[in-house]
């Protein structure tokens, strides 16, 4: 009888059933989609982070940049002596290449690696040196032409005021010795990461895979061998076996790697042995980051605290801290989802619950004579409350099922559209000011990854479970109110002449 009555009521009062179920379905679908978007945005963030910090890195140790004193502006000044250029036809071609700490990067003593390794719960720690190689070359017309703004051909300093094209594609100088007196400068820069090929894999190189040649091994220490990121290799027209120049030293390309992270961004253009990097940049015994892996994810907070004590001058960041360094529209999306999305789904959920409750109560009121008659027939209060609650529960469950279907369709649609959102992460150490002159070449890359991430929404059974749970909760709430209402009806209500 219970099931028959339930079925007949739901089918016989389709409109009421549909309104409650659809309200619930919309709310549930919204909860599912908002949750999926939040998870999708989070994993996009994780993948951006992964491209910079590698897989398995739990904590990074860096050092905040101190504001450099005037005149110490790193990397933005090239000095040319009289002997530096080669002069033909009255035009002097100059070229200078230097390797130094990435913009905003502060280096510190490599002893931090062993200090970090010694901290309780740390399973692995490696140090890397993040550098930028900047090549400045250009042509300066002869002094006879007295070109204003052109640097003197001998003595003095040539500060770059010409055209800079700040890209990494190595465009050759344009303009030049045609008598028009133009000066042309080209600034080419790429990022170089020095890492210890003998150390256990941790850090940026875990987010790439070798696609050509070989990886650096312990034997490569001290050699001028390099691995290139495939994008950079393509744009610079370099392949395994080719040679290229870092800070005036010729390197041989021994391998090409490709990013494995979803967004395709990688931490560096070039990877070279740490000791070579230190020597070439004049940063002997220095590193810019330590990547730390914890033995257990539970101990990350404790390790962070210990590391902060052991390395008081350094900045210690967990993956969670790093997530906040992801900027761009991805971070706006994340904020939007966690604020607006959450509130919107709570609002719609509350509205759906209210609709279910009000419709159930008004349904019971409309059925006053019906329930009075059943009471007159000797039906117990419990039996009637059970019937009302059963109806609401099934309505909620139908809404839940509809909502799950709707939510999955929503996820599918988003995944088919695959919207791209811009994301960039500036390494956390970029907190310090760039120093005087830094703005002038601001377009020149710093140690940052920037990528367009396509948003992919994950599907999880957990969220389906939560959604169904919410639907059941809504049904129970409505059933409780409706049942309470029905329980209060007097059996004499059967005598009412109108419904």
């Amino acid at each position: 009888m219970f099931a028959t009555y339930l079925r007949r009521e739901l089918l016989g009062r389709k409109r009421q059933t549909l309104i409650i179920a659809i309200g619930m379905a919309l709310a549930i679908a919204l909860v599912i989609v908002v949750n999926a978007v939040a998870a999708g945005v989070q994993s996009a963030q994780a993948s951006v982070l992964q491209s910079v910090y590698g897989v398995g890195t739990d904590i990074t140790v860096t050092e905040a940049a101190a504001a450099p004193a005037d005149g110490q502006a790193p990397g933005q000044r090239f000095d040319f002596g009289a002997a530096d250029g080669t002069t033909t036809d009255g035009t002097t071609a100059v070229s200078s290449s230097r390797l130094e700490a990435g913009r905003g990067t502060t280096t510190f003593d490599a002893a931090a690696v062993s200090t970090a390794s010694g901290v309780d719960g740390v399973s692995n720690a490696v140090g890397v040196l993040s550098l930028t190689n900047t090549t400045f070359d250009g042509q300066i017309p002869g002094g006879a032409q007295g070109q204003q703004g052109g640097a003197p051909t001998d003595a003095g300093t040539g500060t770059g005021t010409g055209t800079t094209d700040g890209t990494t594609d190595g465009t050759p100088p344009t303009g030049g010795p045609d008598g028009a007196g133009g000066s042309a400068f080209n600034l080419d820069s790429f990022t170089v990461l020095g890492y210890d090929p003998a150390a256990d894999a941790l850090g940026p190189l875990t987010a790439v895979s070798l696609t050509d040649g070989r990886a650096l091994t312990a034997d490569d220490a001290g050699t001028d061998n390099a691995i290139l990121d495939s994008d950079y290799a393509t744009s610079s027209d370099l392949a395994v076996g080719d040679t290229f120049d870092i800070a005036g030293t010729t390197f041989t390309v021994v391998g090409i790697v490709t990013s494995t992270s979803a967004d395709g961004a990688s931490a560096s253009n070039v990877y070279i042995p740490l000791d070579v990097a230190q020597t070439l940049s004049g940063l002997d015994g220095q590193i810019s980051s330590v990547y730390v892996q914890a033995a257990s994810s539970d101990s990350i907070d404790a390790i962070k605290a210990d590391l902060e004590t052991a390395l008081p001058d350094n900045t210690v960041n967990t993956q969670a801290d790093l997530a906040s360094s992801v900027s761009g529209s991805l971070s706006s999306a994340s904020t939007l989802v966690s604020n607006l999305g959450t509130w919107l789904s709570i609002l719609v959920l509350v509205a759906a619950f209210l609709v279910a409750i009000l419709f159930t109560i008004s349904g019971v009121t409309r059925r006053t004579r019906e329930f009075g008659t059943l009471k007159a027939l000797g039906w117990s209060n419990r039996r009637i409350v059970g019937q009302v609650a059963g109806e609401s529960l099934v309505q909620g469950a139908i809404g839940g099922a509809l909502g799950v279907a709707l939510g999955l369709i929503g996820i599918l649609v988003v995944n088919l559209i695959a919207p791209t959102i811009g994301a960039s992460t500036t390494s956390v150490q970029a907190a310090g000011p760039g120093g005087p002159g830094g703005g002038r070449f601001g377009a020149v890359a710093s140690a940052a990854a920037s990528a367009d991430v396509t948003l992919q929404l994950p599907f999880t059974f957990a969220i389906i479970g939560i959604a169904v749970g919410l639907a059941v909760l809504g049904g129970l709430l409505a059933g409780a109110f409706g049942g309470w209402r029905a329980a209060r009806l007097r059996p004499a209500a059967a005598f009412r002449s109108v419904n």
């Binding site: 009062r13 004579r369 008659t373 009471k375 000797g378 209060n381 005598f495």
Partner: protein, 222 residues
């Protein structure tokens, strides 16, 4: 069957108290047929509700056999209604979403009758009111007279000792009215029921040797 002594029923509302029945003494014998008449608002339905264990009197006692309905709790009154008392209403009061057969079965729901037994008894009850071929119809697919027959089958399926009818023919035309009254009288005679019928209709009232008149909460024989 029934023994009412000093029964008063008042409804207290926010401002005033309505006394629907005033100090009513009444005896109804087993197997009796009683017609109740009276002007509107006189207290007919109120009396039927007390006789039907739907409500307790404000004071006085309502003895149904050995049980004083004035002193039972809601649960006990419910059990009494389920097993002893059948109701027929002016508006039929069928559950609109259930079929005729299922409507009749609702009366057996509180009696813990097994499924197949319930279906069999409901079918027999529908047969006894001449509606065996309408078992799967919804109330909306039945005429008023047929709906009232289903309601009578529902009241009888539990084999009650008392059948209480509040204006059972009030919504029916004259011919159907007579059919329904013939049916009720036939059942009363065949089954040895106590049948109490409230009616406005003197035609209907004339069918019974015992008629009561309720006016302003007081009961008089006539």
């Amino acid at each position: 069957m029934y023994q009412l002594t000093g029964v008063t029923k008042s409804y207290s509302q926010t401002k005033r108290t309505v006394t629907a029945l005033k100090d009513v003494d009444l005896t109804i014998a087993d197997g009796e047929l009683v017609m109740i008449q009276g002007p509107t608002g006189g207290g007919k339905s109120t009396l039927l509700q007390l006789l039907g264990a739907l409500d307790r009197p404000t004071s006085g006692s309502v003895m149904l056999g050995d049980a004083d309905l004035a002193k039972q709790d809601d649960r006990k009154l419910g059990e009494l209604r389920a097993s002893e008392i059948g109701f027929v209403f002016q508006g039929f009061n069928l559950i609109p979403t259930l079929t005729a057969q299922e409507n009749v079965e609702t009366a057996l729901e509180p009696l813990k009758v097994s499924g197949p037994e319930r279906i069999r008894r409901a079918r027999e009850a529908l047969e006894s009111v001449g509606l065996a071929d309408r078992a799967t119809h919804l109330p909306s697919e039945l005429s008023g007279g047929q709906q009232q027959r289903v309601a009578i089958a529902r009241a009888l399926v539990k084999e009650p000792r008392v059948l209480l009818a509040d204006e059972p023919t009030g919504n029916l035309d004259e011919q159907t009215r007579d059919e329904i009254m013939d049916l009720l009288e036939g059942l009363w005679r065949d089954r040895g029921l106590t049948l109490i019928v409230v009616t406005h209709d003197s035609e209907v009232a004339r069918r019974s040797p015992r008629r009561l008149r309720i006016k302003n909460g007081t009961v008089a024989e006539r």
